[in-house]
Assembly symmetry: C4
Homo-oligomer: 227 residues x 4
């Protein structure tokens, strides 16, 4: 195919073959679909109670509580992961083989969030449940950190070249939850209560960090852009 | 990075870093995904009846009625919420941190609609079921009203600046269902039948209000655009 | 707001307020999401059999047959509806209140397809099951015919004005399945076997009709474009 | 309609009637939706164990293992199919009736992946389970191969004309898994262990082949573009 032919075709379709192959749109469509399902999945477990004789709805509905708490935990965690994923992919212009498979790894960990949340809400005093929840959370954060590290090393994949300080603070920001979860994981055997408290502090710490970055990071830096 | 370089990159990708970060497309993709699931979720509860000996399908299928009514209620309510969400986001050009988290709060309330509908269809004479249904509906409407209030205060987020009358009538329109649900919630203890009737009047009132606005609101005003 | 300001804003956002409000993209996103769920939903019912003592997988797996047939029926019917919906919306350029609510009505009927298919696969000799399946199918086809009739009456909603012959043959084409289903519905009480055969002939007739139209309809006419 | 009118309308909408009809965007939206559901579906089967008296979570959670393995198998297989589908559709510019129905056939086979994976994880020593898993995998690969064969025969459907060598190696690449699955299928009766090993080698072989192609295929050829 001559260069002229190629140009003509490109002009009609708007994208070169290379651009189509590296376009992230379907990666995002799949990811948003998976997150939409994960966010709603645990509502399926909140069943309408069936009343036995002389039982009141008020007492029967109390049984729904663990399922409801599972749903709330999974929703908050998945929402944070989705927001983080969206922030990450505003920096990424093109995908390649590495990005696609790392993103599928992230989705794998995200898919396990409902199970981890349900386990935690039922056995929140059991070290094993606390540790499995921690492993799943670390999986979601580590895989996302890996995408950040991978993409920032390949300038052709990102919209604008980032300066070293932004790359490092971005890495620190996405690796930071891993440290929090690691602490919760480590102390689960010693004190389940403390471990639970550390997990609960995760979203709070996240909001504080993001808010601080909004105010403190230099104008125009990538870490200021996190949601 | 020099200004020239930045311009060049922007020209290629079509959007500046700021625009990409504030682009609402993934927020809408997640939202549409969640609504698609919520709308279809309760169909899962309509099970094909298993016939016992000498039982006819005609009598057995009557057991499906509560599940079917749950599905119809959830479908109508979720459809109205989706239409309202779509109307709202035709005004919003950019998202920021506030919009994203308020939208996630809306999705949280929307996710509870199937549970609320199932509860109502099974215990429509129980004040507690009526109140919980009302709380969930208020949650969906209040969070959407909050997005409206938030976005209209930040001219940089919306497509065109709205005049004060449009902002106020938009607020009134999205807060109006909250008043209806609050009445139904308040009288649930006194008369469950009346409470149920008020809930049922919700969609009817909605259609009348929207139709009136189509005819009465000044040409080109935002409230004329509601579906 | 002056006209000049308005023009400037339009130029930046690419669409006027009116165009954004009437843009069908979110309607299609919701619709495709619902169809994706409906298509996969009945796979959930195909459970892996649990073997009792001395039972072989070969005999146990035969129990899966009705669930598998439900899935196949729902898949074929939903796929045909989706293809028809896609064809319809290649003609529609803008949505308005009528299109949106008629489309939600279509989705309502589509959501009932899994239940109808499951009912049919379990009680294919029962007139009631055959009639309910027929009602759901008629619902999906009638609502889609209504969108066609509505849109073709409003030239501002469609891409190009259609000539009368195209409008009429389009109406006939989407109303045609209704007639087939009506016959199957009517004879369900007399001969369930014949009714079932008429339903089964639906997809076959559809393929034949579409293929004939591809060859016979005048070049460039709308009905030639159906998939 | 005069040519001038037609041109004007085309200019406004940006696409001609023909282009809209052949646009693959909704085909991809449905496909990504189905894959998102298939990928997450088997997580639903990983239930939180209920402890009987004196039972520990550690022993109870072991019961989750087959469900977890089902999920992992379905995830890996569906992810590979999705990546292959995405690669294929970077070459396809337009859809026609054939592409749409072949793609629906692919989705049909993809929908059966969760069942096949669950069957395999529960009865991995049973020849019948191994054969059914193989049939489903062959279905997904054969239908995708059919799309490749169909599209490459119609130059109007693909972005750039492919040379014969690329068409042939693309066919070989998508037909290659079929051969692997056929071997696993054939030896399932003789040695279930060997059959299982061949299935397990599938993803490994896939990664090796793709990596080799990245290095060995001529620069700019289509098969270099596979993910």
């Amino acid at each position: 195919m001559s260069v002229q032919e190629d140009d003509e075709i490109t002009a009609v379709s708007g994208f070169t073959r290379e651009e189509r192959r590296r376009d992230p749109s379907r990666v995002l469509a799949l990811t948003d679909g998976v997150f939409a399902i994960i966010i709603t999945l645990l509502v399926l477990d909140i069943h309408v109670p069936e009343l036995s004789a002389h039982e009141k709805l008020g007492t029967a509905i109390a049984d729904v509580r663990p399922s409801f708490i599972s749903f709330v935990i999974a929703f908050i965690v998945a929402a944070m992961q989705w927001v983080g994923h969206r922030d990450l992919f505003t920096l990424i212009r093109y995908t390649d083989r590495g990005i696609i498979w790392l993103n599928l790894l992230t989705l794998f960990a995200v898919c396990l969030l409902p199970f981890g949340s349900a386990l935690l809400s039922h056995y929140y005093e059991d070290p094993l449940a606390l540790r499995m929840f921690g492993l799943i959370l670390m999986g979601t954060s580590l895989t996302r950190t890996a995408i950040w590290a991978y993409a920032t090393q390949k300038p052709s994949l990102i919209h604008e070249p980032l300066d070293r300080a932004s790359i490092r603070s971005g890495l620190a920001l996405s690796a930071f939850p891993v440290v929090v979860y690691l602490i919760a994981f480590a102390i689960a055997g010693v004190s389940p209560q403390a471990s639970l408290a550390v997990y609960a502090s995760g979203p709070v710490l996240y909001f504080i960090t993001i808010t601080l970055l909004h105010w403190l990071a230099p104008r125009g830096s990538a870490e200021r852009q996190f949601t």
